[in-house]
Amino acid sequence: MADRRRINGPVGATTPPIFDKPAGPVATKTSDAIRKIFLKTGITPSASGSAYLELENPNPQRPGNTSLKLSCTVHGPRSLPRSAPFSPHIILTTHVKYAPFATRQRRGYLRDSSERDLGVHLETALRGAIIADRWPKSGVDIIVTVVEGDQDRDSPESQKDDEGWDMMNVLSGCITVASAAIADAGIDCVDTVAGGVAALVCEDDKTAPTIVMDPIVAEHGSILAACCVAYLPTRDEITNMWFKGRLPGADMMVYDKLMEKSLVACRCANRVIVQELNETVKKGQGIS
């Protein structure tokens, strides 16, 4: 006997409602510019150095007006525990952690493999910049918290395939913010290192792929390859490079162009760091 006293739901599985395609994002960012960066140092009083970074969202249709929020704290340099073996250099420990609500998929409180991977990249990028032999027998902890990951959350269209391209943007932000926080902590560096991303994107099958600086993953049809670089502008050196993807045709030409574009993105980010550090210095002089 079927239960006729209650209003039952339909038998079997249901599919969630599907809405029509949302109005396409208005591309307000040109391919030759990076998104606006907000950077502020010295926001965490208890840490010896700290910085906060936001990336502007150029597509204001969304509820939030940012696309990436990062907070970085630097603890140290401090002495190593007595049990630790002698080290002639400063020991650098980097932690990158997504907040549980930072991405579409909830992140647990334990760091997963992609977060650890980002941590290793960040460590490589910073280790080249820090003058490590000025602090023997000491350690420094660099902790980056991703408050908002660079993901588009409001359209099902963009949930098609999560290939992890947004990790590149997060990494470049991590490098920039950590560099500012290290400078804020007063740790000697050869230069302020900054991160930048460039990607080879293909809007649709008909057009030829183009190279875009600081790509917004949701706005492009598909990303073929991307490159994240950590760069020291005054020394003209690269401390970390991460390239992945597939390059059509003659590889090296496109690859070199991609690298050059990401270096330009690095220079842009570096200007923001330098400006912010200058302001901090001026403020300090004004008070005393």
Binding site: A129, I238, L263
Partner: protein, 427 residues
């Protein structure tokens, strides 16, 4: 920290000597084990060692490091997301329209041909829809003495996974039909302690294991529940080899060297380092300890150009030897040289009668007289010796690599791989 810096017992003087001999320009770099800059370590390899796997391989390097890789495959249901359903029905709408059009045109020719036409179209539609998801591959790396969640291990895992997934072609091989796919588990185990940075070894072993991987032959059709052939001898290779008939058809265009070789190959990750202006392949632990920069480059070989399957006898003779290489991923690796202890120049060493404040001619001690004198007389300030290099005194490298150097390293890998017949003997 990572496995790169383990068990390194070299003094600053030894490091400086090694760095000096590796950065020589005129005779080229002199490596401790006498290899040429692009030469790899000798190795022994075998495949099919684990009977319980779909494919397995073991590689043993001459320095005593050894790795085993087992590949296992399971059939898994593909979760259908509602968004894909929309896309597929839209696709089907187009499809039916097309079909009706074709039916009208084919009306005259008869029913049987019409059906075959439909089947063809169906097959073409299915081919368009073949897709893969990164979740279909699970790769785990185990290195003795390190935790699973150690950052070095995680870095290796993600680097090897990235190389497999970067072009999105590999996961398409795991597609069975719209509802089912293979899930591939790659378990990489380093048997020996990590005597050198294990990346090249692990990557090579994975490469071999994937080449030897076979999946049971599919008997069912289209979107049915998959049914497989019981006969293991009929199992197909994940990377299909060119069979004899194909070989016979284009024998004229191809010499017999690559006859039994697979058309495409799994990715391979190479470790390259730079010392001075020299680029050195497959560095050992000692060489990596003096590297200025190190890069891991993943390359894969695509299906060796479309022209090969078509009979094109003498159009481009060069392409038959050149292989269709694709750059998949590049990562810089933190060279362990940044963690090595620095040497102390005589000018600031009190034991060698140097002083911290001023350099006097008395700094001329017996052994390193010329080097110290030059350094100390020019730079009386001790701070200068801290920032600048003194000849023959080791200092951990600072900063990064030049843009041109990184590009040259990647280019050299592509060039070297294109020329190398190394992986030809595999299997």
């Amino acid at each position: 920290m990572s496995s790169t810096s383990q068990h390194l017992l070299l003094s600053p003087a030894e490091l400086a000597y090694l760095h000096g001999s590796l950065s020589l320009i005129t005779p080229g770099p002199i490596r401790p084990d006498g290899r040429s800059p692009t030469q790899f370590r000798p190795l022994t390899a075998e495949t099919g060692i684990l009977p319980g796997t779909n494919g397995s391989a073991r590689i043993c390097f001459a320095d005593g490091t050894e790795a085993v890789v087992g590949v296992k495959a399971e059939v898994e249901k593909t979760p259908l997301s509602p968004y894909e359903f929309v896309a597929s029905t839209e696709g089907r709408k187009d499809h039916t329209q097309k079909k009706s059009g074709s039916r009208k045109s084919k009306k005259a020719t008869g029913d049987e041909e019409d059906i075959s036409m439909d089947v063809d179209e169906e097959a073409a539609g299915a081919n368009d829809k073949i897709r893969g998801s990164p979740d279909w591959v699970e790769l785990s790396v185990e290195i003795p003495g390190l935790r699973d969640d150690d950052s070095g291990t995680v870095f290796l895992t993600s680097m090897l996974t990235e190389a497999l997934l970067a072009d999105g072609e590999f996961v398409k091989k795991l597609w069975i039909n719209r509802r089912f796919h293979w899930k591939l588990y790659l378990d990489i185990i380093l048997i020996s302690p990590p005597l050198s940075y294990p990346l090249p070894l692990l990557s090579l072993t994975t490469h071999l294991a994937l080449l030897a991987t076979r999946l049971p032959r599919l008997k069912s059709e289209a979107d049915e529940d998959p049914m497989f052939d019981d006969d293991w001898a009929a199992a197909t290779f994940l990377y299909p080899r060119q069979d004899t008939s194909a070989k016979a058809s284009n024998k004229s265009s191809k010499p017999s060297s690559a006859a039994a070789a697979p058309a495409s190959r799994p990715p391979i990750t190479l470790l390259v380092m730079a010392v001075g202006d020299n680029i050195i392949f497959d560095p050992s632990k000692e060489e990596l300890a003096v590297a200025d920069s190190a890069v891991a480059v993943s390359v894969a070989e695509g299906p060796a150009s479309e022209s090969e399957s078509e009979p094109e006898p003498e159009s481009i003779p060069a392409t038959t030897t050149k292989r269709n290489l694709q750059l998949l991923s590049v990562r810089t690796i933190d060279p362990p040289s940044r963690l090595t202890p620095p040497g102390v120049p005589n000018s600031v060493n009190a034991a060698a009668w140097g002083t911290m404040t001023a350099a006097t001619p008395t700094t001329t001690t017996a052994a390193t007289a010329s080097a110290t004198e030059g350094g100390a007389a020019k730079h009386p300030d001790a701070r200068v010796t801290e920032t600048e290099d003194v000849v023959g005194v080791w200092k951990a490298p600072r900063g990064g690599a030049k843009f041109g150097m990184l590009g040259a390293m990647v280019a050299k890998v592509l060039e070297r791989e294109a020329a190398s017949p190394r992986s030809q003997g595999a299997g």
